[in-house]
């Protein structure tokens, strides 16, 4: 399946764009996406390892499967406030 991942802050800057399109097996999990992104953005594996992911604007665990058509976002440790 095709997954679009929104990127923010340091990850967006590392990728040079604000979303990344990836091809993943149907029923892939957030954990699989995390590993795959580490390959796509080499040099940012540390950030990606400690980032969270959001699926449809809810924080998601690595075990969670990504539904087809979901909005997925890579959420580096936040620093608002």
């Amino acid at each position: 399946m095709n997954v679009q991942v929104r990127l923010f802050a340091a990850a967006r800057q590392a990728a040079g764009r604000d979303r990344l399109e990836l091809e993943l097996p149907d029923g892939a999990t957030i954990g699989q996406l995390r590993r795959r992104l580490g390959e796509e953005l080499p040099g940012f594996s540390g950030l990606i390892a400690r980032a969270m992911f959001a699926v449809d604007m809810q924080y998601a665990l690595d075990a969670q499967q990504i539904p087809v058509g979901a909005e997925v976002a890579l959420i580096p440790p936040v620093s608002g406030g």
């Binding site: 923010f8 340091a10 400690r50 665990l61 976002a73 440790p77 620093s79």
Partner: protein
Amino acid sequence: MIRLTHDPIDPATVIQAVCASAAGAVVLFLGTVREKTGRRITSSLEYECYAEMAEKKLAELEAEGRARWPLVECMIVHRLGHLEVGQTSVAIAVSSAHRRPAFECGQWLIDRIKEVVPIWKKENYADGTSDWVHADPGNPIRGEEM
């Protein structure tokens, strides 16, 4: 009430939004851009956010605050974009009949905002360098159950 804005935050407007005849106490928290962090001199900040999710998370925090404390009103405003030293990045105003809930909820809201709301800041230092500030790996959030 919650708001994300690129315009300067006026504290008086935020206070006004929570004043009410049922309130005996108002607590306002302002986060302001500090010149020094450790030994580094900050010249300005940039705030970026995942807008739709940040609004959703802020609304959830407001709802949880209202459920946990007997509030009269609550308003949270977060600034985005470019900020100079001394400017306000976040304003949280809470009113309640008595002072304890307003203090407790105000403090809880800023703690939680810094943990869960998808907003990021980039520090531009006086020496010309800049860094995205990302909380340390000890960040406890793992999955929505948090």
